[in-house]
């Protein structure tokens, strides 16, 4: 209970400065918190905007009169370092990041084709966004907690999620941590501290705020726990959800050490950003919530890494606060395997982005200029990664599916009497109509449905 005392002080401070229109507030508190304007004072004493000054010139704030928030680059499109104060990471770290981006892009190609061949039900690639994911994840500590949307394979790869982990989840086999319940690409890992992906958009954003608050409270109680942050990824389309608003607001008011990372790739399925919002992207909203905010070139992995590193420091400062990063990129791939993006955007536009700028080629140019990478190494790496990926693919495809009983388990901590009865009912129906069900691909066959 060592946190009680400062807490109590905090409360008194809050009560004095906060005003509600509720009749429940005692009269004295209300008077204390809404002192009327002193004659001639320049500052406004309205409790809702304490730093506002009066003006006698009537003018609206026009968004168009503000310049767009600049986009930070550390490395130009040709692989040259353009921020003179920037210090690149060690060769080893940079090469690892490069290989991880390449690995994601290779896996994407293989799995996209596999879906087209009907070997898995669904897939989503991250072409064009490997830099945002790998770069930001490289700046986090291993105990930092991550929430993601679904296009963050690079984050998983950078954290150490293996091809076997990816493939087990994609094929929903017996090794799948999700026990065959989730659609492909809904990865998760307790060991890597990445929460399991769910399809509903933006729901993870307020959860990330709450998780960050939990980490902060745990450290308050036990200062031996290392300082940790939560990183939360989402697309610019998801930022239109109410949960985004709820999350940024509550993260700011509760001073949560959370880094919100928006992947602004220009499209939410078919919807271009012009139909998503009319403000200056997502970044311009951050300051409205009182959140430190930055926009970064998502195709520049060094910029993303550096920005995330600084954001992490900021997020842990003075007891914690949220930070918003908007990483700009272009979704080169289709939205998913269920989408043909040429139905709503020109092929030439996509080809142009693919050629003009890409996080992988940009870092490759840097590595080659440094003399630590060449065509030969590229070929070797690609061949090796491809082989590893295909090996995991083949093994995962052969693996049995999880036991049938796992469809009933984990609803609650314990199986309820109803679920036990339903499991028996299913077993009996399969036994009665053996020709109607094929249970051979499931571990343990029908027996797993017995108590």
């Amino acid at each position: 209970m060592n946190i009680l005392r400062p807490g109590a002080r905090f409360l008194r401070g809050q009560l004095v400065t906060t005003t509600r229109c509720s009749v429940l507030q005692t009269g004295s508190r209300r008077r204390a918190s809404s002192l009327s304007q002193k004659p001639g004072a320049a500052g406004v004493r309205f409790p809702g905007a304490v730093d506002s000054k009066f003006t006698n010139s009537l003018s609206f704030e026009h968004p168009a009169t503000y310049p767009a928030i600049p986009t930070y680059q550390a490395m130009g499109p040709d692989g040259d370092i353009i921020d003179s104060s920037f210090e690149a990471a060690s060769e080893e770290i940079v090469l690892k990041m490069y290989e991880n981006m390449v690995a994601v892009s290779i896996m994407d190609l293989i799995m996209f084709d596999a879906q087209r061949q009907g070997r898995l039900s669904f897939y989503m690639t991250s072409q064009g966004e490997e830099g945002t994911c790998v770069g930001s994840a490289s700046a986090l500590e291993k105990d930092d907690v991550i929430f993601s949307q679904y296009r963050e394979a690079g984050v998983f790869m950078q954290r150490g999620y293996t091809f076997t982990d990816f493939m087990s989840q994609l094929f929903a086999n017996n090794l799948d941590a999700g026990r065959g319940r989730n659609m492909p690409v809904h990865y998760g890992s307790a060991a890597l501290k990445i929460h399991t992906i769910s399809s509903p958009l933006a729901t993870q954003i307020p959860q990330a705020a709450g998780a960050a608050y939990a980490l902060k409270m745990q450290r308050l109680t036990n200062p031996n726990i290392p300082a940790r942050v939560v990183a939360c990824y989402f697309g610019e389309g998801a930022a239109s959800e109410g949960d985004f608003h709820a999350a940024l607001n509550i993260a700011a008011t509760r001073s949560c050490p959370v880094i919100f990372i928006c992947r602004n790739n220009g499209y939410a399925i078919s919807t271009p950003t012009l139909e998503q919002y009319r403000g200056d992207g997502i970044a311009s909203r951050g300051t409205g919530y009182g959140i430190d905010t930055i926009r970064v070139d998502g195709n520049d992995i060094f910029a993303v890494r550096e920005v995330t590193k600084r954001a992490r420091e900021l997020a842990l400062k003075d007891g914690g606060r949220p930070v918003l990063i908007e990483a700009m990129s272009y979704r080169i791939s289709h939205h998913s395997t269920s989408d043909d993006s040429f139905a709503y955007r020109a092929r030439v536009e996509v080809e142009d982005w693919k050629r003009r700028d890409n996080p992988i080629t940009r870092l490759r140019k840097y590595l080659e200029k440094k003399g630590i990478w060449n065509e030969e190494k590229e070929k070797e790496a690609r061949g090796r990664i491809r082989k590893e990926c295909l090996k995991a693919f083949a093994e995962a495809e052969k693996e049995k599916k999880p036991p049938l009983r796992s469809m009933f388990e984990d609803m609650y901590e314990e199986l309820t009497p109803d679920l036990k009865a339903q499991m028996t009912e299913l077993r009996d129906i399969i036994k009665k109509y053996p020709d109607e069900y094929d249970v051979s691909e499931f571990e343990g066959g029908i027996d797993s449905l017995s108590k």
Partner: protein
């Protein structure tokens, strides 16, 4: 939740707030719910004499569900909001990972359930959130996912819908989708005042429990009394499953009984037989149990029958065995709840009873339901909408005369 809410909060809070000087009778003179002078059935519940409350310390400590240690302990007279406050204080004191938050929780809550908790346990653990239900529940899920016991308050059950997505798609599915990784949000408890209060109209009267009972993964609990509220709330907080804890707000001040002072839990997903009988089983939960009790007293006297009364307590996953055993014994059954009849708890209970072969064979009458009509709660008509003693009494007659 905009202006209507805030207005509503104010008027309902006024009724719910403790008034040290105002006489108790003021509460009974609600303009909208005063029975006509001719009424013999639809009389206001006399909470000071109802057999459903433990009016003496001795009765409170007789409860066989309480551990011996508690039964040897002391009791204190508490109303429902005080027992909830007591439970929250004990939870906060016992476990540093307990957090309590929601709209206006810090100053004590609009129904006084969190009185003095911020002062005693710190503003870091008991705090106000911005006015956003989806934010509150999303935040709570995240905190629970990282090992905290997050007790979130939704100011009125009527305002839980913005958080429906977080509860249904996230909280309820969290453990299931995490699979063998084993993470869950069992530390989550969502408290919400529910039910009619005489003048709450459309948005301060709802009981959306059946919407949650359609969602496997959540435990849905509604206490009827201060003893239950404390024991079930502590059980919900301790539970490793996410719990929706619905507090009948009409009982916050009205239901007063002797409550054991130490911390104790009551079992979840376990019904309680409040009164044994042999001719008819009445199944209910929360506030209408008092209506049922009054109707039973009258019907037993008039009809010379004996009626068994069961409190479900947890409406999902609910205790089928206790209900089936009772109905097999009595052969007749009715379900009473305040929320609308269509697809309500009664539908599930009735269907389950007729589906259970052994129980079905013992049925001597159709399973009957007394519930709110299939309308929204209208201000001026609440007393015609909520199941009252006359309707319960009449349905008892229909059941036994079938």
């Amino acid at each position: 939740m905009k202006a209507t809410t805030r207005f509503g909060v104010r008027s309902l809070t006024a009724a719910a707030l403790p008034r040290t000087k105002a006489p108790y009778s003021i509460i009974q003179q609600r303009r909208y719910s005063t029975p006509p002078p001719s009424a013999k059935l639809n009389l206001p519940t006399d909470f000071s004499t109802t057999p459903l409350l433990a009016h003496s310390s001795q009765i409170a400590l007789q409860n066989p569900e309480l551990p011996q240690q508690i039964r040897n302990g002391t009791t204190k007279r508490m109303n429902l909001f005080q027992s909830i406050n007591d439970a929250l204080a004990l939870a906060l004191a016992e476990d540093e990972s307990v957090l309590l938050f929601g709209e206006d929780v810090a100053f004590g809550g609009v129904f006084r359930c969190s009185m003095n908790l911020a002062e005693n346990y710190g503003a870091e653990r008991v705090f106000n959130t911005p006015l956003s239900e989806q934010g509150i529940i999303g935040f709570a899920i995240g905190a629970a996912a990282e090992g905290m016991k997050a007790v979130a308050e939704i100011q009125f059950a009527d305002y839980v819908y913005p958080a429906f997505d977080q509860l249904v798609n996230e909280a309820a599915k969290f453990r299931y989708r995490d699979g063998s990784e084993g993470r869950h949000v069992g530390g989550l408890t969502v408290r919400m005042p529910c039910g009619g209060v005489g003048h709450g109209a459309l948005y301060h009267s709802q009981s959306p429990e059946s919407l949650f009972t359609h969602i496997p993964g959540l435990r849905v609990i509604m206490p009827r009394s201060p003893i239950q509220a404390k024991g079930l709330l502590l059980a919900a907080i301790a539970s490793n499953d996410p719990c929706v804890f619905m507090e009948p707000k009409a009982l916050y001040r009205a239901a007063v009984e002797q409550v054991p002072t130490a911390a104790y839990t009551l079992p979840l997903s376990k019904a309680e037989v409040l009164k044994e009988g042999k001719d008819l089983t009445i199944i209910s939960y929360g506030h209408p149990l008092y209506t049922c009790s009054a109707a039973i007293a009258k019907a037993e006297k008039d009809l010379g029958i004996s009626i068994e009364l069961i409190d479900l307590r947890t409406v999902y996953p609910w205790d089928k065995e206790t209900v089936f055993a009772s109905v097999r014994k009595t052969g007749r059954c009715m379900v009473v709840h305040e929320s609308m009849v269509n697809a309500g708890i009664g539908a599930e209970v009735a269907a389950s009873i007729q589906e259970d072969k052994e129980t079905f064979l013992r049925l001597e009458a159709p399973v009957l339901r007394v519930a709110g009509w299939s309308i929204h709660m209208p201000l001026m008509y609440e007393r015609f909408n909520i199941p009252d003693v006359a309707r319960v009494y009449d349905t008892i007659k229909n059941a036994v005369e079938y």
